[in-house]
């Protein structure tokens, strides 16, 4: 488990970006749900934590592809691949991420280590 931040430091409607490799974004929805996905859009290197959270979806701030935070699925191009989803656990007021063991879907240019 990776500690993310105290729950009190992540208000509803906000996101936090973890400097993991690859980076992970944790979202706190307006309904009070917590979700974690890879922070990087699968189309181009953009931070989804900087995007717009609406319900259980986040819209990439650059080209408006929307990802379902529950499944990682994308609604429309330019992104074509889903983002990887991660587990979230809150313990003693602390948000933790349980990283996925699946391979990430990083955009071109970030797929080869050293070329990021």
């Amino acid at each position: 488990m990776i500690p993310a931040c105290p729950l009190s430091a992540l208000p509803r409607g906000e996101a936090v970006r973890l400097d993991t490799d690859p980076p992970i974004a944790v979202f706190h929805t307006e309904d009070g749900e917590l979700y974690a996905v890879d922070d990087t859009c699968t189309h181009q290197d953009a931070s989804l934590a900087d995007g717009w959270l609406e319900g259980c979806e986040v819209e990439c701030p650059l080209h408006a592809s929307r990802f379902d935070l529950r499944t990682g699925q994308v609604d429309a191009p330019p992104a074509k691949l889903p983002v990887r989803t991660h587990g979230v656990v809150v313990e003693d007021g602390m948000v933790h991420v349980v990283p996925s063991e699946l391979p990430p879907n990083l955009p071109p240019g970030l797929r080869t280590p050293g070329r990021a």
Binding site: R17, D45, A46, S47, G51
Partner: protein, 374 residues
């Protein structure tokens, strides 16, 4: 004839090259339009967050918008990355951000850089520092005024003081409740003349009896050629048999509620330097925003504002609007008649101002003073 030999009745205008010389216009852009408060956008045209207008002020394109908290913001319309124009439309609506169409640098409605490709790989890029360049804004009279100077003169000293010097106080213009009026008509005039010709024309009434037959019917004292702007607090009185400020003297619309008895049946014209005219009559306000685009071309946007209930009621306002539309066309035709002659040998040293125009000399001194300062 030289300036020194002019007979006492007349004073000199600016020499012709002030209306034709590109270097003069560049100086006017940098030392007048890009330094002073300019009336840019009608506030109600920015009806919700993300609504925007682009206006040309001096050499700059300025993006005027409304942020999420409802306040007005203005920015230079230039991407901080490689300088692409962010918004090319004259008006529009974004949902929540301005995005450069070139590399997708994305700015929120407060101008802050919020996203860009690979931005997280550049943690040293400060998102405020690399936000859109802010332009000073002020809302007054239902309009957004912008100032491109780094350190603007106080709005009160530069703009409001001009209104006070014309009307005697600010209360007199606030009586018209301009921020609550509704837009009944907007006409955009593309005038092939230098902006100063348009200002000078508005400042005098020596021409009124010749080119404004309808206006002088409604305001008989205009036929005397005296500029009403000369007298503090004076408004030109409607003719005895005139019922309203209309093209045929027919009744106008319902009076604006705050207009005082002393302001009823009177016309007040104001020049707010550098680029705004305000015309007050009991039932409406006509406001001109002037956008100099070239030494010999000026775009004038003219708004006719009436009470909200009058506009909503759908009544026919054409007789009211037609009067000043006709005045505008008559005036701008006169300015376009002068512009081609500004480069003539006959006008190299300029022309003359007759006594009822002498106050235009003050405008010329003001221009020269602005151009001489850096």
């Amino acid at each position: 004839m030289t300036t020194n030999s002019l007979p006492p009745s007349v004073i000199a205008t600016l020499p012709g090259h002030y209306y034709t010389d590109e270097t003069v216009f560049t100086l006017e852009q940098s030392r007048i339009f890009e330094r002073m408060w300019v009336c840019a956008v009608r506030a109600a045209d920015l009806d919700k967050p993300g609504a925007f207008r682009t206006v040309r002020i001096g050499r700059e394109s300025v993006l005027v918008t409304r942020s999420k908290d409802g306040s007005v913001r203005a920015f230079l319309n230039v991407c901080r990355h490689r300088g692409a124009r962010i918004c090319t439309e004259e008006s529009g609506q974004v949902r929540r951000a301005f995005q450069c169409p070139y590399h997708a640098w994305t700015y929120d409605l407060d101008g802050k850089l919020i996203a860009a490709p690979n931005l997280t790989k550049m943690p040293d890029i400060d998102r405020v520092e690399f936000g859109l360049v802010k332009v000073h804004v002020r809302e007054w009279l239902g309009y957004v005024w912008v100032c491109l100077a780094d350190e603007p003169e106080p709005f009160e000293d530069e703009v409001q003081a001009q209104v006070v010097s014309r009307l005697g106080d600010l209360g007199s213009i606030h009586n018209y409740g301009m921020e609550d009026l509704a837009l009944a008509k907007r006409v955009v005039y593309d005038v092939r003349a230098n902006w100063k010709l348009i200002i000078e024309n508005f400042m005098e009434c020596y021409h009124c009896a010749t080119i404004h037959p309808e206006l002088t019917e409604v305001l008989p004292e205009f036929a005397e050629g005296l500029a009403t702007q000369l007298y503090v607090g004076h408004g030109a009185e409607f003719g005895a048999d005139v019922q309203g400020f209309t093209v045929d003297g027919s009744p106008g619309a319902e009076r604006i509620p705050g207009v005082a008895e002393s302001q009823d049946r009177r016309y007040y014209g104001l020049t707010v330097k550098p680029l705004t005219f305000i015309n007050l009559v009991p039932d409406h306000v006509i406001l001109h925003r002037i956008f100099p685009v070239a030494i010999d071309q000026t775009v004038v946007e003219c708004d006719w504002l009436f009470r909200q209930d009058v506009v909503d009621g759908g009544r026919d306002l054409s007789a009211s609007i037609e009067l000043f539309h006709r005045v505008n066309v008559q005036d701008f035709d006169a300015c376009e008649r002068c512009q081609p002659a500004m480069g003539s040998r006959a006008y190299a040293r300029g022309g003359v101002l007759v006594p009822t125009e002498h106050h235009i000399g003050g405008f010329h001194e003001w221009v020269l003073e602005r151009l001489g300062t850096d």
